[in-house]
């Protein structure tokens, strides 16, 4: 929490700092430009007026200048200027200026050089822009303009700028806060989701993903993906725990029933019988629990496969040998053949167990005189291992469900089994990134096929 706030404050200050500095620089530049151009305009005014009066003096002498000045003052169309005409002996022949110009030391003005000069007032509040021209007859003509007007303008501008700067600072700080707030919004959302998950242990909450196309969006997406995976794993684990609990309830009930009946009977013979039954039941439960754990491990991805290149022909032969006697006893013909060079990358033990379960299933549900055939070949999908039987077959509606835990079709109710064999096959084959299917075997019976990818 503290860290997040510190980040927020720092971000906001950075934003405001950059925004305010650049705005102030802009304002200062504008001010400097305005001041320079105002000064230039004043200088242009005095220069052009000087040229005008010089031309009049040239044409009509001093009186022409005086009359032009007086005309100017009467019409008053323009701001009044300082105008001075000095004779060759630097004696003032004519002088006029507004009252406000008294602040300027006009007597001390430079008169010997042409050009425009800025003469500060005695109180330094303004300058007098003075243009000086020495005429051919030695007369000196001077026109001056105070910077009062432009100072007033600049003063107003400064006042406006001050207000504007204040607003800029406010806007900068507010903008910083807003930007920070919106930038950190996804982080805050993330933090609140994490806090909620930590507090409740529920992983169904998701972070809103900002459509900003940046690191925040990536982070939010990755975080949600991670939550999805955790969720899936948790659900799978919970489901398998539920299933295990459920699946064990039936044999536990049988176990209880056996013990209760034996106790109620009371005879030693019945007790012996019940104890033996209990042992057998316990063994079945253990086998069931082992298989359930194997299925759960494979389904949740917790199973670690020891993958090697498995030669199919010896594997198929091993499984055939395992069920040889069982098939023989049932008068079921069991055959297996695979190309000698066929191999597939797989965990040999798990693959053997999956195949054994398929053969077990096929032999179990094939009546006397039937035939179970194990074959293998390679097609473009990978290696296919097929177990075909001439048994009772599986109704089309049951074909998907035979792989479900503890599902036993109506036709298989009479056979004893855990109902987990095909689930284990599917779980192992999926763990190998393969698939398993069941189809009709032409004239009755079924074909189970395991496809295992070559890579």
């Amino acid at each position: 929490m503290t860290i997040r706030r510190a980040i927020g404050l720092r971000l906001a200050l950075w934003y405001a700092g950059v925004f305010i500095t650049s705005s102030i620089v802009l304002v200062a530049l504008t001010y400097a430009l305005l001041a320079a151009s105002l000064r230039q305009r004043d200088q242009q005014i005095v220069a052009s007026t000087l040229r005008d009066y010089a031309a009049r003096y040239d044409a009509g002498g001093l009186p022409a200048v005086i009359s032009a000045v007086e005309l100017e003052q009467r019409t008053g169309s323009r701001e009044q200027l300082f105008v001075r005409v000095l004779g060759p002996g630097r004696d003032a022949l004519f002088l006029t200026m507004p009252r406000a110009y008294a602040r300027f030391d006009v007597d001390g003005l430079e008169t010997d050089a042409d050009g425009i000069r800025a003469e500060p007032a005695r109180d330094r509040t303004a300058v007098l822009e003075v243009a000086t021209a020495r005429l051919p007859d030695g007369t000196v003509l001077q026109v001056g303009k105070s910077s009062d007007n432009r100072e007033q303008l600049l003063e107003r501008f400064r006042r406006v700028m001050l207000i504007v700067s204040g607003l800029i600072i406010l806007a900068g700080l507010a903008g910083g806060a807003v930007v920070t707030h919106s930038t950190l919004q996804p982080l805050r959302a993330l933090a609140s989701v994490v806090t909620r998950i930590a507090a409740t242990g529920r992983t169904d909450a998701r972070v809103p993903v900002p459509e900003t196309n940046d690191a925040m969006e990536d982070l939010s997406r990755s975080f949600n993906t991670m939550l999805d995976r955790i969720d899936a794993l948790m659900t799978a684990m919970r489901d398998s725990f539920d299933n295990v609990a459920h699946d064990l309830r039936t044999p536990m009930t049988r176990l209880r029933g056996l013990a209760e009946r034996a106790l109620a009977d009371g005879s030693p013979a019945a007790a012996r019988e019940a104890l033996a039954d209990c042992l057998e039941e316990a063994e079945r439960m253990q086998a069931m629990l082992d298989t359930l754990m194997d299925i759960s491990e494979a389904e949740t991805g917790a199973l670690r496969l020891a993958v090697t290149d498995v030669a199919i022909a010896p594997l198929v032969e091993e499984v055939r040998a395992l069920y040889e006697d069982v098939a023989d006893d049932k008068a079921v013909q069991l055959e297996a053949q695979a190309p000698p060079d066929l191999t597939v990358p797989a965990d040999r033990d798990r693959l053997r167990q999956a195949l054994a379960n398929l053969v077990d299933n096929a032999v179990k549900y094939t009546p006397a005189g039937g035939r179970v055939t194990v074959t293998a070949d390679r097609d473009n999908e990978g290696v296919a291992i097929r177990v075909a039987d001439t048994g009772v077959g599986i109704a089309p509606g049951d074909r998907e469900r035979v792989f479900d835990r503890l599902y036993r079709g109506d036709r298989s109710r009479s056979e004893r089994g855990l109902g987990l064999g095909l689930s284990l096959v599917r779980a192992y084959v999926h763990a190998h990134h393969g698939r398993v299917t069941v189809e009709d075997n032409g004239g009755g019976g079924s074909v189970f096929t395991m496809w295992l990818p070559q890579e």
Binding site: L322, Y323, A356
Partner: protein, 225 residues
Amino acid sequence: MRALIVEDDPTIADFVAKGLREAGFVVEVARDGDRGLQRAVSEPFDVAIVDVMLPGRDGLSLIDALRGRGIRTPVLILSAKRSVDDRVRGLQAGGDDYLTKPFAFAELLARVQALVRRASGAAEPTRLTVGDLTLDLLSREVERRGQRLDLRPREFSLLEYLMRHPGRVLSKTMILSHVWGYSFDPGTNVVDVLVSRLREKLDRPFDTPLLHTVRGVGYVLRPEP
């Protein structure tokens, strides 16, 4: 024969101790890892049965410490975990065999006897005899009352296994892993089928049966009923 049991669960410890005593062992029981190590270090034992999950020092570290002191007593590890990784870790720590809970006592006894036999380096017999039955390991011939029995290889393998443990009940799991090298439940009881085939040749022609079924536990070969 002296056996040390290091097991914190009193029911399991008593059950194993009682069984081993009946089989002729002198049994000592330690209830935690530290006491177990102390006994194993200070007294001679022919075999130790060590649980993995123990209060104090755990089973694997006990075995490790034992081997670290140069004590080579064969150790059978007991564990509730049945993953291959745990088995490998147990054997790497210096254990000699590994048995997963829950187990049949017959299997534990067979494994313990195998460990003791291996450690004592007794000479391999070439001929096994149980009652009126003899099995020649070299010529692979089986005779009962002078009458030759014609067994298939798997039947021979099962009979040899039973004859090496006369009077001991062998579980289906043990037979499965011994005869087929399988460590999982193959669903249909292939063991039952093999046993009934063997029985057909071994007992059917004679009036006294040798191969008996112990319901809920397994099979046993013994001369008298």
